[in-house]
């Protein structure tokens, strides 16, 4: 039941915020914060009471919730929380708080509607991380798009309409491929067992021929690849991230991209293990291409937000590489990388958003020497830039290192090529710092430094990144219980898939 409340709380909060916005512009902000705090408390209580059991047993569900929704079609409201979902939901709530705080002074128009959309997106993302019924999963998957679309289209920057429509078309269109694959899987299962169900565990036992398995897997993969984004499908990302308001960029980069990675981990690989194994070299190749190509594109940008957006492609290439390398080490690395990328990129977007709010430009050619005027922004910018390039001691390093180490055991060539990405990322991260904070200062720039509110946000993220970099063991433990679940689902499948 708590799991349902995890989704309902932001939903109700969003509705309240939407209605309260007409009277008072501060009320929606506080309501949203309050609801996120309640959610955070809920999940902490939940994990505290069940945590010990889950870690020792290595691969159980912390909590499950199963309720009929459309029983005639075998669709159930089946939610489940394991280590993987727990980590990602903590990230969701954390970044949710950050984005509410970051938009405190940026969003001044239609505050109620803004927070309504923000909270609805968060509810959708939490739903995606919890759903164990494939129909329900798709439901949430689509649900998070609409409010995100409004966030970009209403509060975005210059080319917001174009970016919003592109974002929506790419993600929705690819989503329908997955939907067709889900329905096909359910119908195949129906022909084999005689019961129509969309349940994750039941569908994992479906016997599939190699060709069918590959087609269905591709249906899932393309959807998640668009969201992740994997290189040929990445063009929506830069536009959407650049044009979105700060909170939108934070949620897009920090959370929506993670839903793609989560989908691969939770659904694409365990449901179709044999096809995924065949597909792994392609997946790893795409990952490496993403790492290098994303980094190169990032280096070529003059727009700060675009730069940060392209680094996401590079960082999520690492995640893709880790997922398809497939051993425990690489998967652990992929999960840490997801968390660290959420934090560091989220912080960079907040920073860039703050600069834009003060200077009304994102063009790095017009910036320079900001360190002397705004030392706090400068220092924090430097910190997150080097976090993003993967300095040891910070979360991103742990993630990248583990992924590369794990990949080296499977396919050394990919690991070596992936390592080059670390070099390129150093170049773009340092050049970003150089161009924005050092050098000649255009005479007219005067700007206010970070307020204590912003400093608090940033300090939290810094602490989290350092903690992730220096003592990631609790994260590993939690993640491994989730990974064991995935392993179990996949292994139930494997012996059966040998049959004709």
């Amino acid at each position: 039941m708590i799991l349902l409340w995890l989704i309902l709380t932001p939903l109700i909060g969003g509705l309240l915020a939407g209605f309260s916005g007409r009277r008072n512009s501060a009320l929606p902000r506080w309501l949203s914060l309050g609801c996120l705090a309640i959610d955070l408390a809920l999940i902490l209580v939940l994990s505290a009471t069940h945590y010990g059991a889950a870690v020792t047993l290595n691969g159980t569900w912390l909590a499950q919730f199963d309720w009929p929704w459309i029983p005639q079609l075998g669709i159930r409201l089946h939610l489940g929380l394991d280590g993987l979902s727990l980590l990602l939901i903590l990230l969701t709530l954390g970044l949710g708080v950050m984005s509410v705080v970051a938009s405190w002074s940026e969003i001044t128009e239609r505050v109620g509607f803004f927070h309504f959309n923000l909270m609805l997106t968060l509810a959708g993302v939490i739903g995606v991380f919890l759903a164990l019924d494939l129909f329900l999963f798709f439901f949430f998957w689509e649900l998070m798009l609409v409010p995100m679309y409004f966030l970009i289209a209403v509060w975005g920057h210059e080319r917001r309409i174009y970016a919003a429509i592109k974002f929506f078309l790419f993600t929705q269109g690819s989503g329908l491929l997955m939907f067709a694959a889900i329905v096909a899987l359910a119908l195949i299962n129906y022909r084999q067992t005689g019961t129509l169900t969309f349940d994750y565990f039941a569908l994992a036992k479906t016997r599939l021929g190699p060709a069918t398995q590959m087609w269905l897997m591709l249906g899932f993969f393309i959807t998640f690849a668009v969201k992740l984004p994997v290189v040929p499908f990445h063009t929506w990302l830069a536009d959407a991230h650049t044009e979105a308001p700060t909170a939108g960029s934070v949620i897009l980069a920090g959370l929506l991209l993670k839903t793609g990675a989560y989908g691969l981990l939770r659904f694409a690989v365990p449901l179709f293990p044999a096809a995924s194994a065949t597909f792994a070299p392609v997946g790893m190749t795409l990952g490496v291409i993403g790492i290098l190509y994303g980094a190169m594109l990032a280096f070529a940008q003059n727009d700060m937000k675009r730069l940060v957006a392209y680094t996401s492609i590079s960082h999520l290439g690492v995640v893709l590489l880790g997922i398809y390398a497939g051993n425990a080490l690489a998967l652990q690395g992929a999960i840490v990388q997801m968390l660290a990328h959420g934090l560091s990129t989220g912080a960079l977007f907040i920073l860039v958003g703050a600069l834009q709010e003060r200077l009304h430009t994102r063009d790095m050619r017009q910036l320079g020497g900001l360190w002397s005027t705004a030392p706090r922004i400068g220092a924090i910018g430097l910190f997150f830039a080097i976090a993003s390039l993967g300095l040891p001691g910070l979360g991103n390093f742990v993630g990248e290192f583990l992924v590369l180490l794990g990949t080296y055991r499977v396919a050394s060539g990919f690991a070596i090529a992936g390592t080059l990405g670390l070099v390129v990322s150093t170049i773009y991260a340092l050049s970003f710092v150089q161009r924005v904070f050092h050098g000649e200062r255009p005479a007219h720039t005067t700007l206010a430094d970070f307020s204590s509110r912003h400093m608090l946000v940033m300090a939290t993220m810094i602490v989290a990144l350092v903690w992730l970099g220096c003592y990631p063991q609790p994260v590993f433990d939690t993640a491994s219980s989730g990974l064991a679940n995935l392993q179990r689902v996949a292994s139930e499948h494997l012996p059966a898939s040998g049959e004709p």
Binding site: Q72, F138, F140, L143, Q172, G173, L177, F179, V183, L187
Partner: protein, 483 residues
Amino acid sequence: MNGSDLTAILPLIVLSGAIVTVMLAIASYRNHRITALLSVLGLILCLIAIWPASTVASRRVTPLLVIDRYALFYMGLIFAASIAVLLLSYGYLAARRERPEEFYLLVLVATLGAAALVASDHFASFFLGLETLSISLLGLIAYPRDHEKPIEAGVKYLILAGISSAFLLFGMALVYARLGSMEFTRIAALLAVKDDPPDLYWLTGLALIFTGIGFKLSVVPFHMWAPDVYEGAPAPVAAFVAVVSKGAMFALLLRYFVTTNADVFGPVPMMVEIVAVASILVGNLLALLQNNIKRILAYSSIAHLGYLLVAFLAGGALRIEAVTYYLVAYTVMTVGAFGIITVLSTSSAVAEVEDLDAYRGLIWRRPWLGGSFAAMLLSLAGIPLTMGFIGKFYAIAGGVSASLWPAVIALIVGSVIGLFYYLRVIVAICTPACEGPAAYAGAVPMIGGATLAALTLMLIGLGVYPTPLVHLIQLTAAQMTVR
């Protein structure tokens, strides 16, 4: 004919009674409010009459009609849609100069035709119902007879309705020539007995009947009339054409195909699939080019009929279930979308608010109307939390279950294109409006507003929790397949 038979056709009798009452009322005392009240009350009584009729279903009443759960379900849908259209029209007609009373009479007669269609099990009743429906529709489309566009639309509809009837009659004649029967159930029996594959007579007849129905459904390549008629007709009439006329025709098509098992024969499924794919692609692509909301909705309706045909091709029990759910969803969202146009058009006495530009900033000036319009459009696009999403699920499930991959791909591509033009409208209603003459200055009529609120609630309620509706539809479908 005994008592049970009369009970079975009670909804049709009540409706006929209502028509006579309304006619006499208009003749003796012309009053808009009383006419509207009588008509709506009559339709509500028809809805209530479905309940006693369902206790004696299913039974055949005269060789012409069969009253089963399927027929009663669709009658309910048609009556409910007509009530919604009438409620929306009230404010719209009150603001206009034409005498409004006969409008209600025509809607009731058209509803009677549609209700007879969904219960017909015989070519004769099929044709009678169809003509009753079409001729009243002609009057409705050209109702504002002082204006050019409605007249033009009416003439267009008249010509195409005539042509399609001709096709239909010829097709029926061919089937009759071959099999010697006009009853659907007899046709099915005769077809089942013959061991030789159906010959050219039967196939040509079927193709011609499908063509005639295709005109009414405005599926590609018989779609040319739809955009012009939608644009020219008054908005509530456009809703009526899109929903009641097409819904009843589709219900009949489904009954004919299911009873006679028409699509086990060679090229028939292929023919339907080609029409479905063409409708989806052409409808969606042409909608991209429009700037007039009514034309956009017309092309989108062509595409939706294509989706319906994909669901129509599914096998087994899923077929009736999928089509019926989709039709209910389509009814709610189409009436809703046209309802918004109707309600916004009440303030001006002449023109309707149909230009996309006129909708700029709607959501900020009229949050409730704008919000419900956005909900209707998102539902048409098949986004979760709305009925359209479950409908799209059924359509995809239908296509996948019959392994019609080209149709499924067309459905996916069509949905993406469709999303683009629905988003265009949503963008328009969300854009902060530049100051200008607000095209919708007047007050929203209360009845119309309440109807829209009810439709929106239904759209979201049955989208989030469709279980009761799915249950009802499955009961309906079960009886139909058993028969």
